[in-house]
């Protein structure tokens, strides 16, 4: 109840901020010494919230399906791609973390490349992966690969920290039980790593959404919310509210993924509801 109220209050505050700035801000934007420091507040740049909501109900094109249905459809498509990318990325991250924990030499050799992988600009990489579409895999799968490419990183780094988190005492105890690496991993390291895993999964979820949206745009994959944002933004001058409906959809998608991770966390973290762990 209290949580629902605070969510509502947050939404209300965001709405007030939007409409408040729109009412108070300069329609042409505030310009200081030739640099625009505050954005334009005119109807073209910041349509009224009710205009956006009304646009959701109107047909996309004259006589077509209503916009909300089109946006929802696109969200579902992107959600599927995100989920596949997220799952694959998380799995790869877990395996990499376990390998790096197991072999010092793998950690030394691999970790710099894991970090390097994220500095490669996505826009440079995406067309390369897009080339696989149609020959190696369907086009949507190339987008999932891009999502996985972004999602594996926080999991690999966070999980490595987590797997290394058990105290020397715990590790010695397992040794005294004659437990090998695998059983120490399952009984000690993995459960000890869970508080590190979940924040990492949240980051990975957000990264997977970004990866899917950007991936759709740069590979030109149709049907998803990323493509929709691009299409609608082309109409921004004549129909400014339309692009915001697509952005609302993308935000909703991010919330959905974050919510899914939280759901995963509930049964596994029963022993401590509130835990403070510094990750990364």
């Amino acid at each position: 109840m209290r949580r629902a109220l605070s969510v509502l209050a947050g939404l209300l505050a965001a709405a007030l901020l939007w409409e408040g700035y729109k009412a108070a801000g300069d329609p042409e934007g505030t310009v200081l010494f030739g640099v625009r420091v505050l954005p334009r507040a005119d109807d073209l740049s910041m349509p009224h919230l009710w205009t956006i909501l009304r646009r959701l109900a109107d047909p996309e094109l004259a006589g077509g399906r209503p916009v909300w249905l089109v946006v929802l459809d696109a969200c579902l498509f992107t959600l599927g791609v995100t989920a596949v990318g997220f799952a694959a990325g998380a799995l790869i991250g877990l395996v990499l973390a376990a390998a790096m924990q197991r072999f010092r030499i793998v950690e030394r050799g691999l970790l710099p490349y894991v970090i390097l992988s994220q500095t490669v600009p996505l826009v440079a990489l995406a067309p390369l992966i897009a080339g696989w579409g149609g020959t190696l895999m369907p086009p949507w799968a190339t987008v999932a690969v891009i999502a996985a490419y972004l999602a594996f990183f926080p999991v690999a780094v966070g999980m490595l920290r987590g797997l290394q988190s058990p105290s020397a005492g715990g590790v010695e105890l397992m040794r005294s039980y004659a437990a090998g690496w695998w059983r120490t991993l399952v009984k000690l390291r993995f459960p000890a790593a869970l508080p590190y895993l979940f924040p990492a999964l949240r980051l990975a979820g957000a990264a997977a959404v970004v990866g899917a949206v950007v991936g759709e745009i740069s590979t030109g994959t149709r049907g998803g919310i990323g493509r929709l944002i691009i299409e609608y933004s082309r109409e921004a001058t004549s129909d400014p509210a339309k692009v915001y409906t697509a952005m609302l959809g993308a935000a909703l998608l991010g919330l959905l993924v974050a919510g899914a991770v939280s759901l995963l966390e509930v049964p596994l973290m029963r022993h401590r509801r509130h835990v403070e762990v510094v990750t990364l």
């Binding site: 105290s167 005492g169 715990g170 010695e172 105890l173 040794r175 005294s176 039980y177 004659a178 437990a179 059983r183 009984k187 000690l188 459960p191 000890a192 869970l194 022993h271 401590r272």
Partner: protein
Amino acid sequence: MSDLAVVVDKVTKVFHQGRPDEVLALSDVDLTVADGEFVSLIGPSGCGKSTLLRLIADLIEPTTGTVAVADRPAAQARRDQEYGIAFQQAGLFEWRTVRRNVELPLELRGMPRDERKAKAGQMLELVGLADFAGHYPGQLSGGMQQRVAIARALAVQPPLLLMDEPFGALDEMTRERLQGELLGICAKTRTSTVFVTHSISEAVFLSDRVVVIRPGRAGSPRRSR
């Protein structure tokens, strides 16, 4: 079968051998513990008493010399789980309930679920924590956690119990009560015990024999009493 639980024969332990920070922890140490005997290792911090215990547990390996536990090399004895061990820190797994913490060594031995549940219950009874089986370690006081750790060490009913200042972090009153409980348990289960402490009174109160490890030139432990 001899009636010796532990035989430490001319053991020397050097840490970081061949490096500038080389440390001679123990040199040429002999120690025997008879079956059912309660032996305390005592000495100031840094004298190597914990090192000796960890050598017996095969958590580290001697530089020279041999360690035998239950007539076997220490490494073999560890694999056969001939001993239970408890450290100064209780070291419970916080994501497991008290009962499942005690079950851990039984689980790793492949004991069936019902059996280990019964066994863990019995052990918790022994340390007076039967009512807290379903609690998580974070909900218990330090003294209670330490009792759980002792129950966990005893759960496999090891012939040998190794304890490294298990009561060091506890307050005086809790410590005295646990000392009494430990004596009772050891007498009841006929367990041989090696107990590391820096408290002379604790060593004298608990032990059949107190081994003093001299500081400075670590090694050749002297017997007292």
